[in-house]
């Protein structure tokens, strides 16, 4: 098959690329591996020491990694849009460049997402994305979109490769022959029969139709990570199309650069001609002009509206001491220079267009930096921090190392790929071992260094800890010599006619009390001159102990109804002994509810113990009314008891429980005669709680809104249905090849 002259010529021209590897190539690979190896060391440092080794902090939570992420996903557009559109439009000059474009897509879509992984604090918990993924989160959109996009790009690249794989199968490579069975397997018995050709064309067309909207969606989703937040400079409705245009612009730029590089190293002057550079250059400047237009629209809108926070971001961008120079480069030079170079015939040649493209690519990288960093440095509240690294972001060596490692990986994969698939040849397998050894040595050396440093630090910190322990224990010993005088407080309580004594044992130092738990308190009743013990109890964690007073103690009758109680602490360890006393007259307080002419009322009765246990009405006694709430008592009223009773309105506006039940508390507080007396009552006269609204689906809930679920299912199944169909077609091609 493919016996035509043109194909044979091409094969003759490209075969050496697959079969030869010159010293320069090896040197390039070694260099790239060294860069990647250093990046791996940086990654190791980041994993061991945490993200503290990066320049990212609480305000600028994302840095170079996200910039690189957007950048790589951006250039992946080259393949998707350029090759997709050129293919669909059947543009005749597309053939020599379409493979490079698709390779850019696949490689950059593989490298891009690794940068988002570098931002993640807990890589060990990545499975959580599958276990607990919420489709309300733009990050999940991204995960789904990028995996779908990568799968589609790989299939698309493969479809476009089948013809060349078939040629290679028919003309086996002379060295590294292990590739030949792979070519044979991957070429799926393609013999360019009419039927096979038709099937292949249909599926390629189909996939290029699917991949275009998908690519747009992927970059929109990426933009929405930023657009969905309420941050100035991000929260913009044009962000998605803006990102898409910027992405295609940079993708085209990268494609031109790649073309230029391969044209040089593989001497493809006869294949990739000035026409390609001119046409792509024109496409690039059109995109560049659109990007410039979007940029202008974006900043003009926010400047004209002049919302405080937008202005802060603009101030940073237009301030010569901050980002002005970068801004000029990313927006003015990055747009105008390529336009001038391509449009003025005098400047237009292959090298200058490649230069313009590299400026555009660099400008777009800087633009992504300017999208991320100045916004994160401008939170809505003032950025109040004395630590300079928390205020201004500056990337550390770790981030730079990983950035360059990514670029090196991109070049390396591209180079290796170009040695493996048609148009271009492969690495001899022998070399790989050497590089891995080299990488290992570098790695081990650095590791040893880190371990050594860590040991030093550990010894130093142990010393400090021991010193500190010695010092603190000597302070503690010095304190031991002083005896401490505790403070004991005794209070009398009567709650719903249950009488108890509360004792609080604390120490006081510098005006602050601290409780003494686990201490024994002895309670006594002072009857006449002889104290009579009524019980002992241990203080709780708060230094409080409460003792219910046995009924028979009170029934004994005091002098004119007055009882005197005492509490004492015998002293323990270095605590001195302490004692306290209180006197009171038993008071009987009672609460009841009644309705009078539709009014909901509370009635209080108060009787005091007189001589010989005769209960007599109390006069002129202040009683406070409370409603118990979670943390404290809410005061709802105050009433004065006259002739043993008082009435007041029930506080019906105070919320009760779901059924309106509300507990009311009447309290006589710290009364000189009666101590603390309490009575309570519960009735369903409070304001009932409205039933809890249970929202199951929503942006902030566990489950996503239904429309979101449906949209996702429809979109995903549409795309994956096409993928499946295409894969099925590939099997059919293979089946047809049998006969």
């Amino acid at each position: 098959m493919y016996e035509d002259e043109k194909t044979q010529q091409n094969l003759y021209a490209f075969k050496p690329q697959l079969e030869k590897m010159d010293k320069k190539g090896i040197a390039l690979i070694v260099f790239l591996l060294m860069v990647i190896g250093f990046g791996m060391f940086a990654l190791y440092t980041q994993i061991v020491e945490g993200h503290i080794v990066t320049g990212m902090r609480d305000n600028v939570v994302w840095g170079l990694y996200i910039v690189n992420f957007i950048f790589f996903i951006g250039i992946s557009y080259a393949g998707a849009l350029i090759s997709g559109i050129l293919h669909l439009l059947r543009v005749p000059w597309r053939t020599p460049i379409i493979r490079m474009a698709e390779m850019i897509t696949v490689i950059s879509t593989m490298i891009g997402p690794t940068y988002i992984l570098l931002c993640i604090g807990r890589l060990d918990r990545l499975p959580n994305l599958l276990l607990f993924g919420r489709i309300q989160s733009p990050i999940i959109w991204d995960v789904i979109a990028i995996t779908t996009y990568l799968s589609g790009s790989i299939i698309f690249l493969y479809l476009a490769m089948i013809r060349d794989l078939a040629i290679l199968r028919d003309n086996p490579v002379k060295n590294a022959r292990w590739r030949n069975p792979i070519y044979r397997f991957l070429s799926v018995r393609y013999k360019d029969t009419t039927k096979q050709k038709e099937l292949l064309n249909v599926s390629t067309d189909l996939l290029s139709i699917v991949i275009i909207p998908l690519a747009i969606l992927v970059h929109s989703v990426l933009a929405w990570i930023f657009g969905m937040t309420l941050r100035p400079g991000w929260h913009s409705t044009i962000f998605a199309p803006y990102f898409v245009i910027a992405a295609v612009y940079s993708g085209t730029g990268v494609l031109i650069v790649v073309m230029w590089v391969f044209r040089k190293i593989y001497h493809l002057e006869s294949q990739i001609t000035k026409i390609h550079f001119n046409y792509l250059g024109i496409i690039m400047i059109i995109l560049g002009a659109m990007y410039g237009y979007f940029t202008f629209s974006e900043y003009l809108t926010s400047w004209y509206g002049s919302i405080k926070w937008d202005m802060e971001v603009l101030y940073r961008l237009f301030n010569p001491s901050q980002y002005w120079h970068l801004f000029v480069f990313a927006v003015f030079i990055g747009v105008l220079l390529p336009i001038i170079i391509v449009t003025v015939p005098k400047f237009r040649n292959i090298n200058s267009i490649a230069f313009a493209a590299s400026i555009a690519v660099l400008a777009l990288w800087v633009k992504r930096y300017l999208i991320i960093i100045p916004t994160l440095e401008s939170p809505l509240l003032p950025l109040h921090d004395l630590r300079p690294e928390y205020v201004h972001y500056s990337p550390t060596w770790v981030e730079w190392a990983l950035t360059f490692a990514g670029i090196a990986l991109f070049i390396l994969l591209f180079y290796l790929f170009s040695k493996f698939i048609p148009i271009i040849p492969v690495v001899r397998s022998g070399e790989e071992k050497d590089y891995s050894r080299l990488r290992k040595i570098v790695f081990e050396k650095q590791m040893k260094k880190v371990i050594k440093q860590n040991k030093k630090n550990a010894i130093a910190s142990t010393g400090v800890i021991i010193l500190f322990l010695l010092m603190s224990s000597s302070v503690a010993m010095a304190q031991d010599e002083n005896k401490i005088q505790p403070v004991l407080k005794l209070e009398y309580f009567n709650v719903d006619s249950v009488t108890k004594l509360n004792a609080t044992l604390r120490t006081k130092k510098d005006g602050r009390f601290s409780p003494m738990p686990g201490m024994e308190i002895d309670f006594t009743l002072l009857h006449g001159n002889s104290p009579k013990s009524i019980g002992k109890a241990i203080t709780n964690a708060k230094g409080i102990v409460s003792l219910p007073v046995p009924a028979d103690v009170l029934s004994g009758g005091g002098e004119k109804g007055v009882f005197t109680f005492g509490a004492s602490f015998a002293g323990k360890d270095n605590f001195e002994k302490a004692s306290a006393g209180t006197s009171m007259k038993p008071l009987h307080l009672e609460m009841s509810f009644f309705q009078k002419e539709g009014e909901k009322m509370v009635s209080l009765k108060a009787l005091e113990a007189g001589i010989n246990n005769q209960w007599t009405p109390v006069d002129n006694l202040d009683v406070m009314l409370y409603v118990p709430r979670t943390f404290s008592l809410l005061k709802v009223g105050k009433v004065t008891i006259a002739n043993g009773s008082a009435t007041l309105e029930f506080p019906t506006t105070v919320p009760g429980n779901q059924l309106g039940y509300l507990t009311l508390l009447a309290k006589v507080e710290d009364n000189e005669v009666y101590g603390n007396v309490e009575a309570s009552g519960t009735i369903n006269w409070g304001k009932p709680l409205p039933p809890e609204k249970i929202i199951i689906r929503g942006l902030g809930d566990t489950n996503a809104p239904l429309w979101m679920v449906y949209t996702l299912i429809v979109l995903l199944s549409l795309v994956w249905f096409h993928y499946m169909y295409v894969i099925f077609t590939v099997f059919r091609i293979r089946h047809l090849g049998k006969s």
């Binding site: 020491e49 945490g50 993200h51 990212m56 902090r57 609480d58 305000n59 939570v61 993640i120 604090g121 807990r122 918990r125 959580n128 994305l129 607990f132 919420r134 309300q136 989160s137 733009p138 990050i139 999940i140 995960v143 990570i225 969905m228 937040t229 309420l230 941050r231 994160l376 939170p379 809505l380 509240l381 003032p382 109040h384 004395l386 709650v495 249950v498 108890k500 709780n540 409460s546 409603v627 118990p628 979670t630 943390f631 404290s632 809410l634 105070v654 919320p655 009760g656 429980n657 779901q658 059924l659 039940y661 507990t663 508390l665 519960t682 809890e692 249970i694 942006l699 902030g700 566990t702």
Partner: protein, 315 residues
């Protein structure tokens, strides 16, 4: 052990799901039905009100003293809606709230869950101190964007983080318009003894490297019927905390009707225009107890000048 915790949980369901609204610390006998000899008894009793209006009394140890598990912590306390009111007229930037907060949550000194700003809305206006915890929005931007549901909104209005689930993507930090969230950039340096307590999203302790943390509104304290430390350690009673459903907030000394307080003092919510619906209300700095300059006491020259620059004070 499993049996034990399920007992406790069943009890919780019984007690709280029944809608206990009233907690009255007082003495009495232990309810034998709920006694479990292995469980911690604190000796402190709580009174719980059942929906039918009956008061039952239980030991605090039965319901509060184990930190809630990661799944349990996702359920809000039933029938509660926690709110905070911050009285800007009383704040003098004493920062005792932050000290209390940091010691309670084992935070390293530089990690601040409450941040202090000297705000000045325009050059004609007077500067005022503005303490800012997490605002626990009812429409929280952070919760919306979390890819794994590690940060979540509970029925009681509290926004929490499950540090065992958080993957550390920091999207919530980028999404929070109030800069309320902080990241554990390295292994948290905390005292070893504090490692003993089991982790709970309700205590947010111990902190975990590579994850996000923030003010948690102290739901563990609410379970015990106690106030968060920022409220109790404020010397000026700036913070009021409480349950909106009970219409009561307290700053530790005064307990007031929430509705009356926000009405009489013309409370506002910070940056209401963002649509985040915060659970924290601010009382404007009217009739101030302190001159704003009092807030500079104890600060370094550097920090004072930083505050002055932010508030555009020139003297």
């Amino acid at each position: 052990m499993k049996q034990k915790s399920s007992n406790r949980r069943n009890f919780l369901k019984l007690g709280f799901a029944a809608g206990a609204t009233a907690l009255i610390a007082s003495g009495g006998s232990v309810l034998s039905a709920f006694s479990d000899p292995e469980d911690k008894e604190t000796g402190e009793k709580m009174k719980l009100l059942t929906p039918e209006g009956k008061l039952v009394e239980v030991d605090k140890g039965h319901i509060c003293c184990q930190p809630a598990g990661n799944l349990e912590a996702r359920q809000g306390l039933p029938n509660k809606k926690m709110v905070m009111v911050i009285d800007l007229a009383k704040c003098r930037n004493a920062r005792k709230c932050l000290e209390g907060c940091q010691s309670m949550h084992n935070l390293p000194p530089h990690m601040e869950w409450i941040k202090f700003y000297l705000l000045r809305d325009s050059p004609d206006l007077s500067p005022y101190w503005f303490p800012k915890p997490c605002l626990h929005c009812n429409n929280p931007p952070c919760v919306k964007v979390c890819p794994v549901g590690a940060t979540f909104k509970r029925t009681d209005g509290i926004v929490l983080i499950d540090n065992d689930r958080c993957i550390g993507c920091k999207f919530c930090m980028a999404a929070c318009p109030y800069s309320s969230r902080v990241f554990n950039w390295e292994e948290p340096k905390i005292a070893k003894s504090n490692h003993q307590a089991p982790y709970s999203p309700e205590t947010s302790s111990p902190p975990k490297v590579g994850t996000v943390s923030k003010c948690d509104f102290c739901p563990d304290m609410v379970r015990k019927g106690e106030l968060p430390t920022c409220v109790t350690s404020c010397p000026n009673g700036v913070y009021y905390y409480g349950d909106k459903n009970e219409d009561a907030v307290t700053n530790g000394t005064d307990t007031v009707r929430f509705s009356e307080l926000i009405e009489s003092r013309a409370a506002y919510r910070f940056m209401e225009e963002l649509g985040t619906e915060p659970s924290v209300y601010y009382l404007p700095a009217v009739d101030r107890a302190f001159d704003y300059k009092v807030g500079f006491e104890g600060l370094s020259e550097e920090e004072i000048s930083l505050y002055k620059t932010e508030a555009k004070i020139t003297e």
